[in-house]
């Protein structure tokens, strides 16, 4: 899987790994927006280019519903907006959530998130998510499409 350097369109290989305890010291609100220490009870993953953390995602595994909920996600400050350095970070993290859901639940896998109302349509358009009222979700073919697009 790779992200794209917006300046020169160059592909850069990245990894998604589980966060380690010592990482929390470096996860400042100024760079990653949220207080990530509050997510310690969840499964928190980091997208890294070499050792540099470019994105973070907190997942909740709802075993009863065979569903992974993305409870929090943020890309690092320098990768947001029109002046961002790298593209595809959020897509890869969402694809990784899909991979995790399939690893646990196979064909019944589902990934969901609760969007801010005004942002809902963007998640639907960008990631082919299905509207389920309060939540949007991925399952079946749309999940396969995102795995293919982000090469997981």
């Amino acid at each position: 899987m790779y992200i794209i350097d917006v300046k020169n369109n160059k592909k850069c290989a990245v990894k998604v790994k589980q966060i380690e305890e010592q990482d929390y010291k470096t996860l400042t609100k100024s760079r990653y927006y949220f207080n990530w220490k509050t997510e310690k009870e969840n499964d928190v993953y980091k997208l890294v280019l070499d050792e540099n953390i470019l994105g973070l995602m907190s997942l909740v595994n709802d075993k009863g519903d065979k569903r992974i909920e993305i409870s929090l996600l943020a890309v690092s400050k320098e990768n947001r907006g029109k002046n961002k350095r790298f593209d595809r970070i959020t897509g890869i993290l969402i694809a990784f959530a899909c991979r995790t859901a399939i690893k646990y639940y196979g064909i019944e896998a589902c990934v969901s998130l609760v969007p801010k109302t005004r942002l809902k349509q963007y998640y639907i358009d960008q990631y082919q998510m299905t509207d389920a009222g309060w939540q949007v979700f991925l399952t079946g073919q749309s999940m396969l499409n995102i795995l293919k697009k982000y090469e997981l």
């Binding site: 963007y122 399952t139 079946g140």
Partner: protein, 173 residues
């Protein structure tokens, strides 16, 4: 930076491209959202094609193997034969039928599944082709190598046996 400052700095699309915000649903809304989600998923379950179900099963197997390989711990239960047997189960194939699929003798397959024989390179390649590249040959190879690595690290009886074949052993003070 407060959320309203984010709204000034970024467009809505840029926000959706960079964040999933914490949800502030009330308990009632959470329960309502669970019901909505279950209903929608139920509707979509009916649209699943059997071929799609098999693809998901193979991806599930692939991701489980990949994560096991990533983990430095060795697990005697997660052998090459265990994952190969799981592959056959997902395909709902008998040994004889599958051996025919990949053009090996049924006895050879049986020996591999019962850990009486090591898998060969040709098998890794044929498995990759059989799965339509969903599970690459390199994944099967690494799985087999992980077992071999553990065996080399821990096989003391082999060490004792092989001592008899070594002369002029180097000695250092």
């Amino acid at each position: 930076m407060k959320k309203d400052k984010l709204k000034i700095k970024y467009t809505e699309k840029e926000l959706a491209d960079s964040f999933v915000f914490r949800n502030n649903l009330t308990q009632f809304q959470k329960e309502e959202s669970t019901i909505q989600m279950r209903l929608q998923r139920k509707k979509m379950e009916n649209l699943i094609h059997p071929n799609e179900a098999l693809l998901f099963s193979l991806l599930q197997l692939k991701y489980q193997i990949e994560d096991y390989l990533e983990n430095s711990n060795y697990d005697v239960e997660r052998s090459f034969s265990y994952y190969l047997r799981t592959y056959l189960n997902f395909l709902n194939k008998k040994n004889k039928e599958f051996a025919k699929d990949i053009d090996i003798a049924e006895t050879e397959l049986s020996q591999i599944l019962n850990q009486h024989r090591k898998p060969s390179e040709k098998l890794f390649i044929r498995l990759e082709i059989h799965s339509n590249k969903i599970i690459p040959a390199i994944t099967w190879f690494k799985l087999s190598e992980k077992e071999k690595e553990h065996d080399i690290l821990t096989n003391n009886s082999l060490r004792i046996r092989e001592q008899n074949h070594v002369r002029n052993k180097l000695s250092f003070s």
